[in-house]
């Protein structure tokens, strides 16, 4: 849906972005990951023309984005900033209603859409008339997201959207983010320097360094088949955690040794990743779970030990 071809950006003699190309499919969530200064934010900003590239081109649905006026283009792309960028002199309602207003929506339509978004983002309706400075960081972040989603644009660009939040709030918002139906319908490009966040939220990750894409692949590809030492080194510190997060029970299916069935527990979908499963087991009394492979309908009763064994075997075989 979004195609980036041979994109470069020079500031004087400095090559901020050096001839990069990638593609994002519809409804995919692509993460631009890297340390600060690697060019990920510049890349993002070129997609809604906040920054104009020195060379190369960007196509959305096959159409070159320079064919349109920047304002028209931007009104069709949601944008979420690290510091939220809420207008301090506007109320929450006015902030969310800004793009609808620019597109001359009817007031009633804007209002019902605003209320719908507040509900989806678990915000109380009585903050509509509050000013951004009266809200908590988490609330401001959600309003920023609501503003970007107001006109239901197909594409969403997010620049370190959770960067300013504390870890607890961040974890909650991540969970909400994944659960939000509305976002599942979006093509998203998100910039982050947070490896965990990238692995948690991304369908695909472009790991960038010095203006180039070092590796472009699914989270498990990056983790298990790093193209070079840079990628391995970048992920090393959180290796185990990431492996838990990227490995699904389904991946281990052939390696699993069945234990006894546990009749009481609900049956869990084998699409679940290992990390979430461990979290689940922690919360329940028994260390046994029932898991169903939806591809063939098979249900296995599994114990924690068995799962771990299968996991280590799986990692070794990679």
């Amino acid at each position: 849906m979004i195609k980036v071809e041979g994109l470069s950006k020079n500031y004087g003699l400095v090559k901020a972005i050096d001839h990069i190309s990638f593609e994002v499919e519809e409804h995919q969530n692509l993460i631009l990951l890297g340390t600060s200064g690697c060019g990920k934010t510049t890349t993002l900003k070129m997609i809604n023309r906040l920054v104009e590239p020195s060379s190369g081109r960007i196509l959305i649905n096959g159409i070159d984005i320079t064919k349109e006026k920047p304002e028209t283009l931007r009104r069709k792309i949601g944008y979420v900033l690290q510091n939220y960028g809420l207008f301090p002199h506007y109320t929450v309602a006015q902030n969310i209603g800004i793009v609808p207003q620019l597109l001359n929506w009817e007031k009633q339509k804007t209002k019902s859409r605003t209320l719908e978004l507040l509900e989806k983002l678990h915000l109380p309706a009585d903050i509509l008339n509050a000013y951004p400075s009266e809200l908590s960081g988490g609330q401001q972040q959600r309003i920023g997201l609501a503003r970007a989603l107001a006109t239901n644009p197909p594409v969403l660009l997010m620049d370190e959207p959770f960067g300013a939040l504390d870890n607890v709030t961040k974890a909650n918002i991540h969970a909400e983010f994944l659960a939000l139906d509305e976002l599942k319908q979006k093509t998203i490009i998100m910039v982050t320097h947070d490896v965990q966040e990238a692995f948690e939220l991304g369908d695909r990750i472009c790991l960038m360094d010095k203006g180039e894409i070092v590796q472009d692949g699914s989270p498990s590809e990056l983790l298990l088949k790093p193209v070079n030492d840079f990628v391995a080194g970048f992920l090393k510190e959180q290796q185990l955690l990431l492996e838990f997060k990227t490995t699904k029970i389904l991946d281990l299916w052939s390696l699993l040794i069945t234990s006894r069935q546990n009749n009481v527990e609900p049956i869990i979908n084998a699409e679940i990743d290992l990390w979430t499963l461990i979290e689940l087991i922690k919360k329940q009394k028994s260390e046994f779970v029932n898991i169903q492979n939806h591809k063939n309908g098979e249900v296995l009763g599994l114990g924690f030990e068995a799962i771990m064994q299968a996991f280590y075997q799986y990692i070794k075989s990679k």
Binding site: E71, R74, G85, F87, P88, H89, L102
Partner: protein, 523 residues
């Protein structure tokens, strides 16, 4: 003394009409200038946020304008804009410009860049960003600038009276030259109150919630226009000629009061500072002005004195005045100062004034040349025994006299000399002498009589018959009241005079004040 000394309150009530007019003029002038400054300064401030390469130059020029002394600026403007409200408003506008441009620039560049980025990213055009985001967010800072500009303008607007644009300066400067404290306060207190009140009101507006700023932005222009409309140009009644008189002349019996009483002169009169009065006359902005009979600018600007055929301008002596205590302290001083006594007659003084006013020789040079020619000059003894401080009023003749005295003291005594020249008016000079800020200055017996002693009308009439009588009267009274002595008269007579441009007076066949009055009364 007057029969009854008015207190400030009584004075203000008595002058309530004038006070109201001046206050309204003052407010009007301030806000006309302010509206212009906002109309020009705001867009200019916005422009330099877009073209940052010009910001240094624009702010620099505005800062330089701010530093030009107001009276000098008004002087520059007379040839271009004449006198009256136009140059006054233009000068005020220039002074108000800097805070408005600077705060607009600072306010807009100070808006959080992430908010601007968000605005861009939502697809706002640059005009939408300006009006929906930048201006509303910069508004408190811009307001602070307007507030500063208002206070500056209220203050500087007092100077509008220098060039016949009215305002509370008329009372302030009139009071200073007439030695009338009530009059000064009647102008100064309302002017200060206006500054405080406007500052307070604008500070209230500034503190309102950013969201409400939008509605203020709509109300404010109307409010400003309303206040600006209070101004109406000062004028008495229409007449064929226009007169410009100094504030001192306006309030003296041997001045405008006598003109009205004795000659029945009905002329459209404006109040103007004597520093710019001659220039305005020369530039055809005025037709008749008040001046001194010995003024060098008579020749310089090709003016003639109208004959005072009903004798309302009695001649007066000029002489240094000095405290008795000072004379005792510096025994050599009196004889030294009296060296000049009787040495300068009317024509000499006029010529000396002409040298400085027209040929632009320095007062130091003119003073030295005169002393040398009259064998009074001695080289400085370089004495340091103690320092005598000489004062002078702010016009050419007094500068020359002060320089002569300085050379005489240095040459004949072991005292050193410091000068405090350019003291702006009788009151300032006299108070400085009274409070030992200066040791002596040249004063005129008429001014001593009418501006300092201010006796009853009966006494004035009795004393003014002859210049010797006047001299003796002021000398006796000054000794009694202030312990101040009038030294021997320098020689020349100084009197008020009405002046016109030579060619205009000739073509209208006006030679005397009576003829002027008759001409004005013709239909």
């Amino acid at each position: 003394m007057n029969e009854h000394q008015l207190n400030l309150w009584e004075f203000m009530i008595q002058q309530a009409d004038k006070l109201a007019v001046q206050t309204l003029q003052h407010i009007g002038l301030t806000f006309i200038a302010l509206i212009l400054a906002v109309l020009i300064g705001l867009p200019l401030g916005i422009y330099i946020t877009r073209k940052k390469q010009f910001s240094g130059a624009v702010l620099g020029i505005a800062s330089v304008l701010q530093t030009i002394p107001s009276i000098a600026l008004l002087g520059f403007l007379i040839p271009v804009l004449g006198i009256g409200p136009k140059p006054a408003i233009f000068a005020l506008f220039l002074y108000a410009l800097l805070p408005i441009i600077r705060n607009t620039f600072t306010g807009i560049t100070g808006v959080d860049p992430s908010v601007i980025e968000a605005a861009l990213a939502t697809g706002m055009s640059k005009w939408q960003i300006l009006f929906k985001v930048e201006l509303p967010l910069a508004m408190p800072v811009i307001f602070a600038g307007i507030r500063t500009a208002t206070v500056i303008t209220v203050g500087v607007a007092t100077l509008a009276s220098y060039i016949a644009a009215g305002g509370l300066g008329e009372f302030i400067f009139g009071g200073i030259s007439l030695n009338n404290t009530n009059m000064i306060l009647a102008g100064a207190i309302p002017a200060a109150l206006l500054a405080v009140i406007f500052d307070f009101l604008l500070s209230r507006l500034q503190k309102l919630n950013v969201a409400k700023i939008n509605s203020i932005t709509k109300v404010l222009p109307i409010l400003l226009l309303l206040l600006a409309s209070l101004y109406f140009a000062p004028s008495a009644y229409g007449s064929k000629l226009k007169a410009g008189f100094t504030p001192e002349f306006m309030g003296r019996q041997d001045g405008n009061l006598g003109l009205i009483e004795k000659y029945g002169l009905k002329i459209n009169t404006v109040v103007i500072n004597d520093a710019v009065m001659y220039k305005a006359e020369y530039e055809n902005q005025l037709d008749v002005i008040s001046g001194y009979s010995t003024d060098g600018r008579l020749a310089a600007f090709n003016l003639v004195i109208l004959k005072d055929d009903k004798h309302i301008f009695p001649p007066y002596y000029a002489a240094p005045i000095i405290k008795e205590a000072t004379l005792k302290k510096y025994p050599d001083l009196e004889n030294t100062l009296n060296l000049l006594a009787g040495k300068i007659n009317d024509s000499i003084m006029t010529r000396l004034n002409y040298l400085t006013d027209y040929l632009h020789q320095s007062p130091e040079q003119v003073a030295k040349d005169f002393l040398v020619a009259n064998h009074l000059y001695k080289p400085s003894k370089g004495g340091h025994q103690s320092t005598i401080i000489i004062g002078s009023k702010i016009f050419g003749e007094q500068y020359i006299l002060a320089n002569m005295y300085a050379l005489l003291i240095k040459g004949n005594t072991n005292y050193d000399v410091a000068t405090k020249t350019g003291l702006g008016g009788t009151k300032i000079c006299f108070e400085a002498l009274n409070n030992n800020q200066i040791d002596f200055y040249p004063e005129y017996t008429g001014t001593g009589l009418l501006a300092i002693l201010k006796p009853s009308v009966k006494t004035v009439v009795a004393v003014c018959v002859d210049k010797e009588v006047t001299y003796n009267y002021v000398n006796t009274e000054f000794k009694k009241k202030y312990d101040i002595k009038w030294l021997k008269p320098i020689g020349f007579n100084n009197a008020y005079a009405l002046m016109m441009r030579k060619n205009q007076a000739n073509s209208l066949h006006i030679k005397t004040i009576s003829e002027l009055s008759t001409y004005l009364n013709q239909k």
